[in-house]
């Protein structure tokens, strides 16, 4: 560290200016000196070899001494004798005679020393230099004007503490007043100036001026540099730099204030530009205050960013409505088919940005979603595994169904549904007709039956009530199923059973549905499906968010006999208020592919069911 390499050499110097700039008082007694020079303008004064006064100095305001240069000896044969005489002016008059110097020795060579007995303060002195009897130099002064104190002694420094980085340090510098100066009695008051410099520098920098004899906490980064010389000066005069600095700062501050409060708006704008107030084009704040929101809306509608909010549900409904309103398109395939179309890729693509979150995210966890995708990917290729996965209680079906539904919903054409999402329902018996959500005319049902898509999964269910636990209780669908199962056998039975069937919700297993469809789709479709279901208005499909009844026409014919089939579906996810997602429950069906109805119940439906 630099600090440990500090070398302090005491190079003390002192200077004092009792009276600034006037070391030699130009106050000759009776105009002696100048007049003498004028009267006797000797040519010797022009030569450089003449003895001359160099300095008269008083170190402590008690004694003083005068020094002169020894002239060049022009004549070696006769050594020149230089004498110094002085005269001092007493209170009212000058002493008549010049007195010779009392002490040529004490102050050194070519000097004259006046001790305290010869020294009087505040009195004019005139001294003259004589060379071989002729005056060569003269000067007049007062002792208080030639005060130049001795340098301070005992300059030393102490390291107080070092900063953590080792760059800064606190140093205490101490010194003592010169012994000659009687500061203790207050006869002379000294000021000190501390200077410092780097080792290889030549210029001294002033640090501070102090009156006392010590200086602590010299905290200056420059001090870290190795210092060799430390100079202390004693002075008796200082210049008011601080005052000037304060003056300048004050003036600038006032000027700034004047500008700020000035009426010159231009200057004000320059210094303090106004903050722009937030503003919308065309909007009058008064308009807002008046409360005329319609007008504000119209104005705001101009801006692209402003769009009135739409209910998410409405968009969902729109999609649904489109599908329903276009029966022709739907005739191509049952809703179930469409919903369950395996062509998920296509549907998803069509989905695109539509309703990305409708349904899917409601029930799907990410892993489920992935699984769904996997399943869908495998749809084209029959994969029982995928199906079993779904059957295993995951809610994949729900998601898948929903996906299918979404895809189907978005599709106006049921072309995609032409494919019997066969892989989906390898073992399941689609009940397309059962899943038919529209009041399908016969033709539609027939078409649906043609599809006979395995994708026709049972997912229609009527929620009769919701248990406190959160599970949804569906009205018995066993009957239907039972009916369905028997529909093959007894197609005729189907008809009479329709009425019964009507009353309850239809929760059909695929197997039954398939049978029914296979058996007598036409019959089922035609006769009774429509009205009965309409009554209940209870069928809830994923697509039937509208209040239109879901007709499972073909299913109507089926339920002549009822078979006890559990029809409770617990709610998988309650995504209020959007709806409920129904869980799959294991049903003891031979055709065990029991696809739970992915019931996505909207609040409207729910409200209708359970007021």
């Amino acid at each position: 560290m630099h600090l440990w390499q500090l070398f302090l050499t005491l190079a003390l110097a002192s200077s004092s200016d009792a009276f600034p700039g006037t070391e030699d008082t130009p106050a000759p007694p009776g105009g002696a000196s100048q007049s003498l020079q004028r009267v006797h303008p000797s040519p010797e004064t022009n030569s450089s070899g003449k003895p001359k006064f160099t300095k008269c100095r008083s170190p402590e305001l008690e004694t003083f001494s005068c020094h002169w240069t020894d002239g060049v000896h022009h004549d070696l044969r006769s050594p020149e004798t230089v004498q110094m005489f002085y005269r001092k002016r007493t209170k009212l008059e000058w002493t008549e005679e010049w007195t010779e110097c009392p002490d040529y020795v004490s102050a050194g060579e070519n000097s004259c020393y006046f001790n305290s007995s010869y020294t009087s303060i505040w009195i004019l002195y005139c001294v003259k230099l004589l060379n071989n009897g002729s005056t060569v130099d003269e000067k007049c002064f007062s002792v208080e004007e030639i005060v130049q104190p001795d340098p301070p002694i005992g300059l030393n420094w102490t390291l107080l503490n070092i900063s953590l980085t080792g760059i800064h340090a606190d140093i205490q510098v101490k010194w003592e007043s010169p012994p000659s100066a009687d500061v203790q009695k207050g006869w002379i008051v000294l000021e000190y100036e501390l200077q410092y410099k780097e080792v290889n520098e030549t210029q001294w920098k002033m640090l501070i001026i102090r009156k006392c004899g010590c200086l602590t906490n010299v905290r200056d980064p420059l001090i870290d540099l190795p210092i060799i010389w430390m100079k202390i000066e004693s002075r008796d005069f200082h210049f008011p730099w601080l005052l000037i600095i304060i003056f300048v700062i004050f003036g600038l501050t006032v000027m700034v204030f004047v500008f700020i409060f000035s009426e010159q708006q231009r200057i004000k704008m320059l210094i303090l530009p106004p903050v722009p107030v937030p503003k919308i084009k065309g909007i009058d704040p008064a308009l807002l205050k008046a409360g005329k929101l319609e007008e504000v809306n119209t104005i705001l509608a101009i801006h692209d960013s402003y769009k009135p909010e739409f209910n998410n549900d409405d968009s969902w409904v729109e999609f649904i409505e489109l599908d329903i309103d276009d029966p022709d398109e739907k005739t191509e395939g049952s809703d179930t088919d469409r919903l369950l179309t395996i062509d998920l890729q296509k549907s998803l693509n069509l989905l695109g940005a539509k309703d990305d979150d409708s349904g899917r995210t409601s029930c799907c966890e990410p892993d489920i979603l992935d699984t769904e995708f996997n399943a869908s990917d495998m749809c084209d290729g029959t994969s029982e595994v995928a199906q079993t996965q779904r059957l295993k209680g995951e809610v994949d079906l729900l998601c898948l169904d929903q996906k299918n539904q979404i895809s189907l919903l978005s599709l106006d054409t049921a072309s995609a549904t032409q494919q019997p999402s066969a892989t989906l329902v390898d073992e399941s018996k689609p009940s397309p007709l059962l899943g038919g959500s529209e009041s399908a005319p016969q033709a539609s049902h027939s078409q649906l039956s043609n599809l006979s898509s395995l994708a026709n999964i049972d997912f229609y269910a009527q929620v009769s009530e919701i248990t406190p636990a959160g599970s949804v209780v569906l009205s018995p669908g066993q009957k239907l199923k039972a009916g369905m199962s028997q529909c093959d056998m007894h197609p005729e039975v189907v008809s009479p059973g329709q009425a019964n069937f009507i009353m309850d919700n239809a929760y059909f297993c695929e197997a039954d549905a398939k049978k029914c469809i296979a058996m007598a789709p036409h019959v089922q479709v035609e006769s009774h499906g429509e009205p009965s279901f309409n009554q209940e208005d209870s069928y809830i499909t994923t697509e039937s968010l509208t209040t239109t009844a879901v007709r499972s026409g073909p299913a109507e014919g089926a339920p002549s006999s009822e078979m006890p089939v559990p029809d409770y579906t617990s709610i998988h996810i309650v995504q209020s208020p959007q709806g409920l997602v129904l869980n799959a429950t294991a049903l003891p069906l031979p055709d065990k592919e029991f696809f739970t109805s992915c019931g996505y119940v909207s609040t409207d439906q729910l409200n209708k069911i359970m007021p």
Binding site: A18, F19, P20, G21, T22, P26, A27, P28, P29, G30, G31, S33, Q34, S35, R38, L61, E62, R89, K91, L92, S116, T119, S120, I121, W122, I123, L124, C140, S142, E144, D182, V183, Q184, K185, G186, W187, V189, F237, P240, L243, I246, F247, F250, G251, V254, F257, V258, F261, S262, E263
Partner: protein
């Protein structure tokens, strides 16, 4: 604001006032030590001496600057040094002239001497200000300092009277002081003579201000700090 036009002027005026105070009050306390009429006001002697020393030092600095300014401006080349330097009007006062004499004199006497010298300068300073103002191209550096010295001299005199009242109470001193008779010299028609008179006066002022400053510092150490500054 009702009067916007005058607000900047008012600010400038305020600034000028403040700055003038700042300039003139360099190192000088501007508040009176004790309000007039306050009987029980007792400022410590130490504070009184501190303030007095500050004032005397300030006055001496101003005097030196004023003399140097005058010397630079008017005395160069005129050969004032060739002329006889008249003694100052305060030379008649028996003031100590070296350290021994100053230490021998009693502090009360020294205090009285200081007060006398200060009183002696009231009149000359007043006339100095008025005459400098009347000078052609009145130099502001000299005039402002003269005004300030006159003001501060009065304040120092008040402070010294308080100190005397505390140090040497009960003695009512006759107001003795040296009379200054140099006014005619300052008003002489001859410019050379007039300038020389100014030069002499300023030289005497510088000398006496140093004398007073030294005496007060000596007295302060002696009285307040018991000769152990």
């Amino acid at each position: 604001m009702a009067n916007k036009g005058s607000s900047p002027k008012g600010s400038l005026l305020l600034l000028l006032l403040l700055l003038s105070n700042l300039l003139l009050c360099q190192g000088v306390a501007s508040l009176p030590i004790c309000p007039r009429g306050a009987v029980n006001c007792q400022v410590s002697l130490r504070d009184l001496f501190d303030r007095a020393v500050i004032l005397s030092h300030y006055i001496h600095n101003l005097s030196s600057e004023m003399f140097n300014e005058f010397d630079r401006r008017y005395a160069q080349g005129r050969g004032f040094i060739t002329k006889a330097i008249n003694s100052c009007h305060t030379s008649s006062l028996a003031t100590p002239e070296d350290k021994e004499q100053a230490q021998q004199i009693h502090h009360e006497d020294l205090l009285n001497l200081v007060v006398k010298v200060l009183r002696s300068w009231n009149d000359p300073l007043y006339h100095l200000v008025s005459e400098v103002r009347g000078m052609e191209e009145a130099p502001d550096a000299i005039l402002s300092r003269a005004i300030e010295i006159e003001e501060q001299n009065k304040r120092l005199l008040e402070g010294m009277e308080k100190i005397v009242g505390q140090v040497h109470p009960g003695v009512k001193e006759n107001e003795v002081y040296s009379v200054w008779s140099g006014l005619p010299s300052l008003q002489m028609a001859d410019e050379d003579s007039r300038l020389f008179a100014f030069y002499n006066l300023l030289h005497c002022l510088r000398r006496d201000s140093h004398k007073i400053d030294n005496y007060l510092k000596l007295l302060k150490c002696r009285i307040v700090y018991d000769s152990n500054c």
